[in-house]
């Protein structure tokens, strides 16, 4: 057996093949943002801020029939071992793009024509799977901002490590493992909005990996729900007059 997977099937950080790292999500952490969230996904620590819908500047960028979604995934210089140059790297530009494309199917952008929605994902500390954690947190922040959504987006990776298909790859497994497959999933609509694969899998392994990642997404989705419910409904009691138009 390889260093990443013991004889008993225990992974390098002590997890079993189908276990997620510890996840903690908080909603509404930034006062000045319209919506915000903070996620700890294993060693990942990420803050997400959502601003908008708001007017587009420059005005010629506005679309007449729907809102523009702008995403920025950014790693802070101290988020990795060696100082990272704060300028957007090739990798960050790619992740910004796939984040936008993972979130877009969930948002009803047609409800806000001629406006823009800005999503800022700042990675304070990074571990493997930060794009999934970023998408998960961004979806929670968008819901917090009160933007019309068809569904939340939950994201989780699966991959192949030490010859086995495992859930939620961490940094070491990502670097030394055989395959990494991040997946973003719309749980109620049962749609996949992000699917990347880095490595080699057979057709059977691919199917197993995708199913495992979707199972992981459902677990993440439950944590997103819990976090939102905690912020909005934990102390809430119904009152007749509270919501009268």
């Amino acid at each position: 057996m390889s260093r990443l997977m013991s004889e008993e099937g225990i992974r390098i950080d002590g997890r079993r093949w189908n276990e997620l790292r510890p996840v903690r999500i908080e909603v509404g952490v930034l006062k000045n943002a319209d919506g915000s969230s903070y996620i700890e996904f294993g060693k990942n620590k990420i803050v997400v801020a959502v601003y908008g819908p708001k007017e587009v500047h420059p005005k010629h960028m506005a679309l007449p029939d729907k809102s523009i979604l702008r995403c920025r995934y950014h790693m802070l210089p101290f988020s990795v071992e060696e100082r990272k140059n704060p300028a957007p790297s090739r990798r960050e530009i790619e992740i910004s793009k796939i984040t936008r494309e993972a979130l877009e199917p969930a948002l009803i952008l047609e409800d806000y024509p001629r406006t823009v929605i800005d999503v800022f994902i700042e990675v304070l500390q990074s571990d493997g799977g930060s794009r999934c954690a970023g998408i998960t947190a961004a979806s929670v922040a968008l819901a917090d901002a009160g933007i019309n959504m068809r569904d939340l987006v939950a994201a989780c990776a699966a991959g192949k490590v030490g010859g086995r298909i495992v859930l939620d790859i961490n940094d070491e497994e990502d670097k030394m493992g055989e395959a990494d497959m991040p997946v973003a999933y719309l749980p109620n609509l049962k749609q996949v909005s992000l699917l990347q694969l880095d490595g080699k899998l057979t057709a059977d392994e691919y199917r197993e990996c995708l199913n495992l990642a979707i199972n992981g997404c459902m677990k993440v989705y439950n944590m997103q729900r819990e976090a939102l419910m905690k912020k909005y409904f934990s102390t809430k009691d119904e009152e007749g007059g509270s919501v009268e138009d």
Binding site: I108, D144, A145, G146, M149, P187, L189, F233, D237, G241
Partner: protein, 228 residues
């Protein structure tokens, strides 16, 4: 019968009942109705809607809003109405049909930075909301404390048939103009009472979701009165 339930975006509300219509913040996907916001479901005879608990102000025709003049051209003012759309107030609405851009100076009526109470005359998302000040109680607001609250908290501040806002007005002897966009103006002779009214408004905003809020605000206001 009215049934209430808490929902998040994407949550299934009803499945397979073609007689229930989707109203505000509810979408139909196939034969299923899903919520699009964090909020409370309200099922009534007309259909099902979700009352949102977060979000920005989206103008609706007929709403009274309080806005700030941020710019003007030869023909119209641009008004910040605390929304993602800028309000558009045509000069003709103020000067009348005989308005001539060369003769009438827009700044004589409203200048940049002026706060106005206005009503949404027309809006359909394809163009900026059209405003009007041609009604009683509309127009320039020259004095008072400007307070901003979350637009989704406005119905709570007004309360059942205006019970909450009337109670605050009565006990603080202030007048409160509530814009549906979450901007309020508190006017009153006594500075201390105005501050108390602002405090009460903030209290309602923070506790919008809690029970017996009217009672607690009343207690607070009466406590202040006794202390004076």
């Amino acid at each position: 019968m009215i049934v209430k339930r808490y929902v998040l975006p994407g949550d299934l509300i009803v499945e397979g009942n073609p007689h229930i219509k989707p109203l505000a913040n509810v979408i139909k996907i196939g034969d299923r109705l899903h919520s699009t916001r964090i909020g409370i479901v309200e099922v009534s005879q007309n259909g099902v809607k979700v009352i949102p608990l977060s979000g920005i102000y989206i103008p609706r025709v007929g709403d009274l809003v309080i806005g700030k003049i941020i710019d003007y051209s030869a023909l119209a003012w641009e008004v910040d109405i605390n929304s993602c759309f800028l309000g558009h107030l045509p000069a003709q609405d103020v000067f009348g049909k005989e308005f001539t851009p060369g003769r009438d100076d827009l700044t004589k009526r409203f200048d940049k930075g002026d706060v106005i109470a206005c009503r949404i005359l027309n809006f359909d998302r394809t163009r900026d909301p059209l405003l009007t000040v041609a009604d009683k109680d509309l127009g320039k607001i020259s004095e008072g404390e400007l307070v901003k609250i979350g637009p989704t908290k406005v119905p709570r501040l007004i309360g059942k048939r205006g019970s909450m806002i009337q109670m605050i007005e009565h006990l603080t002897r202030c007048r409160i103009v509530v814009g549906q966009n979450g901007v309020l103006v508190v006017t009153g002779a006594d500075k201390d009472m105005r501050d108390v009214a602002v405090k009460a408004i903030k209290m309602v905003e923070e506790g919008a979701h809690t029970m017996n809020l009217t009672e607690r605000v009343k207690e607070m206001l009466q406590g202040v009165q006794v202390g004076r």
